[in-house]
């Protein structure tokens, strides 16, 4: 892979210290996002995905704390960076889009003002230049009559349009890294398709590295180049999308893929239910132990490290490549 690495996260650990105990929400997590490629980060609710994104942006608030690891953005460690420098990166070189767009826009200011503010916070441009850029951005994200729409308040935009406006704000200053945290979760399936189609077109125009976080594996299969499966705060499988989804190695990944509801094919008598990820932080050994049909004694006490099961494909499981194939259901 000759693409330059934009984001290099190494052994990230983010813990939450609460009255009920220490929750090791992210516990030794490493990954890279490359220029021009999309990394899909998948995992069930509670697996720590949003905490990963918030950690990268250094947006973790107490009782959460980044307790270990390094986050290299274009070679500089964000964990050690002073807040002032970080503030310059956020919204300019790193753009982030969260789920539930309406909570992230000020209801008292028109969309145009909010877009212009993002532009002017990071560049010396006149109001008129910022306004033109705003119109350009709204058109880019597929909002018709952009010039008129600049004058609308967020509540005058539909859910899908609000999400697009947020994406416009995230890409306003041509970021090198775009982080999307479940951007279509609150949207109808048809609007979700529209937003994803727009993101696809955008992806072709930009060289940014994209990190897409979601629990919707089917969605990711149609957008990501590489996939990372997260469970219980750890990465359990990683590799190119076609490999991770087409030939999953880790038993959890296999059950995840099997549980995806499909419209094609026969109707099922029963749907597969996945094990929840919350509350597994105190476990020793493999996070998937209690649910795994292939578990061995060592899995209860040893934490499996990520091993390369084939070129570029990593899995955190003690099953060897050959055994995994034999063990396939």
């Amino acid at each position: 892979m000759s693409n330059e690495t934009v984001l290099d996260v190494r052994e990230l650990r983010t813990y939450y210290y609460t009255v009920t105990g220490t929750h090791k929400v992210v516990d030794g997590f490493s990954f890279q996002v490359r220029k021009g490629r999309v990394l899909g980060l998948a995992g069930p609710g509670g697996s720590g995905k949003t905490t990963v994104a918030a950690s990268v942006m250094r947006l973790i608030q107490p009782p959460g704390k980044i307790v270990g690891g390094e986050i290299y953005f274009k070679g500089k460690d964000l964990v050690k960076m002073p807040e002032r420098e970080l503030a310059k990166l956020r919204g300019s070189e790193i753009g982030m889009v969260f789920q539930d767009a309406s909570s992230y826009m000020d209801p008292l200011y028109v969309i145009g003002d909010q877009l212009m503010e993002t532009v002017q916070a990071h560049a010396q441009v006149t109001n008129e230049q910022a306004r033109q850029r705003g119109i350009e951005l709204l058109s880019l994200v597929g909002i018709p009559d952009a010039a008129d729409r600049m004058k609308n308040y967020p509540h005058q935009f539909s859910g899908g349009m609000q999400q697009r406006a947020l994406i416009a704000m995230a890409i306003a200053n041509n970021p090198s890294l775009i982080i999307l945290d479940d951007p279509t979760r609150s949207l109808d399936v048809t609007i979700q398709a529209q937003v994803m189609q727009m993101l696809d077109r955008l992806r072709e125009k930009t060289e940014a590295g994209i990190l897409l976080i979601s629990s919707n594996v089917a969605l990711m299969s149609q957008f990501a180049d590489d996939m990372l499966i997260m469970f219980g705060g750890r990465c359990i499988e990683m590799g190119p999308k076609n490999v991770v989804i087409g030939r999953p190695h880790h038993p959890h990944t296999k059950s995840l893929i099997e549980a995806i509801p499909v419209l094609e094919g026969e109707r099922l008598e029963r749907l597969k239910v996945l094990v929840e990820s919350r509350g597994l932080w105190e476990r020793s050994g493999c996070v998937w132990y209690s649910a795994c049909p292939f578990r061995m004694d060592r899995c209860a006490v040893e934490v499996p490290e990520l091993v390369e099961v084939e070129e570029g494909h990593y899995s955190a499981c003690f099953l060897g490549v050959g055994e995994a194939k034999k063990a396939a259901p």
Partner: protein
């Protein structure tokens, strides 16, 4: 499921609009949100009907009409052959017991000041299902066991549970009244994939055991794929297509249905590196509907005829209805794709 008796529920030409007073340059103007524009449906006992459509298509309003939370401006609803809007208060209460609605937001449909057990017990008390404190508590606990959250949550407040578990609690509360019909209004699509699977499996199990009839309302087709026998697709207050599950998915006869199906993300497509495709345009406002067929502005098959005359819902094959001037072209699109 063939059934020659009276359908358990029948909606006849229901119309419902809401008045909006908007402040414009001309002063306050009365506008109408046309939520339901002439919907007729029959529901057979024991079937699981999927009511599918995007936000704003009127499906929730239709559900509210069925349980008498709203009154139609035209048309009516028959439950077991009786017009619900002509019922006495006593008959209405009985109907409320027999048709239960589960709402979209599991958090807002439960009081934070009452325990989960108290919610279920309430339902038992109000409809006199069981008498006596001890009996009520035991029955409530049984119901919590039946839905899979377990009697241990009886004394918990809703804040301690996940959305999926709360929705199970809502189902327990709904089952408490021994209903005939259970309506889920977007209560499933808001959940995680695995929470969805849990609830859908539960509903399937309960269907045979308790002889329930379902209406599952959602915008997400994958929710209804495995549980619903028949599908009704709605758009902007009207029914666009009706048919059995297998036919609608394999060969839809309405371009809107086809576009809806194609919007669902698919691993099969992902593995073939097929990108997501989407319908063009936004859903028009239900206040200012486009002339003719309301889907025309977004439809690839739209012609002038479509923009002039709104198509009627016609049964074009046994058990299959569609509201489209060019429905045969939709079927031809399958043959070639």
């Amino acid at each position: 499921m063939t059934n020659n008796e009276t359908p358990i529920l029948e909606i006849v030409d229901a119309h419902k609009y809401y008045d909006l007073k908007t402040l414009t340059a001309f002063g306050r103007v009365r506008e109408k949100v046309k939520a339901v524009r002439g919907v007729s449906l029959k529901l057979v006992q024991g079937e699981a009907l999927g009511l599918v459509g995007e936000s704003g298509c009127g499906k929730s309003t239709l559900a509210r009409l069925i349980v008498k939370l709203e009154t139609p401006h035209q048309g009516t609803v028959f439950f077991r052959g009786q017009d619900v809007f002509k019922m006495s208060p006593k008959e209405t209460k009985e109907t409320h017991r027999r048709i239960q609605l589960i709402f979209q937001n599991p958090f807002s449909s439960l009081s934070p000041a009452m325990t989960i057990g108290e919610h279920v017990a309430d339902a038992l008390t109000i409809h006199n299902i069981v008498r006596g404190k001890a009996a009520i508590e035991e029955r409530a606990k049984q119901l919590l066991d039946t839905v899979g959250i377990g009697r241990e949550v009886y004394g918990n407040y809703p804040s301690l549970s996940s959305a999926g578990d709360l929705q199970l609690a809502n189902i327990a509360r709904a089952l408490a009244t021994n209903p005939d019909i259970l309506i889920s209004d977007e209560g499933i699509s808001v959940l995680d994939a695995s929470e969805q699977a849990k609830i859908l499996n539960l509903l399937k199990d309960l269907q045979d055991e308790l002889k329930l009839t379902y209406i599952i309302i959602t915008h997400d087709l994958s929710v209804v794929r495995h549980i619903c026998d028949r599908l009704v697709v709605m758009y902007l207050g009207k029914v666009m297509e009706i048919g059995d599950n297998a036919s609608v998915f394999s060969a839809p006869i309405n371009p809107y249905t086809k576009a809806l199906i194609e919007s669902v993300p698919s691993v099969a497509k992902g593995l073939r590196d097929i990108r997501m495709t989407a319908m063009k345009g936004e859903v028009p406002s239900p206040i200012h509907l486009p002339p003719g067929c309301t889907f025309a502005p977004r439809c690839d098959l739209a012609t002038d005829a479509c923009r002039q005359t709104e198509p009627e819902l016609i049964e074009v094959m046994p058990g299959r209805s569609t509201a489209c001037h060019h429905w045969e072209q939709v079927t031809r699109m399958h043959a070639t794709s």
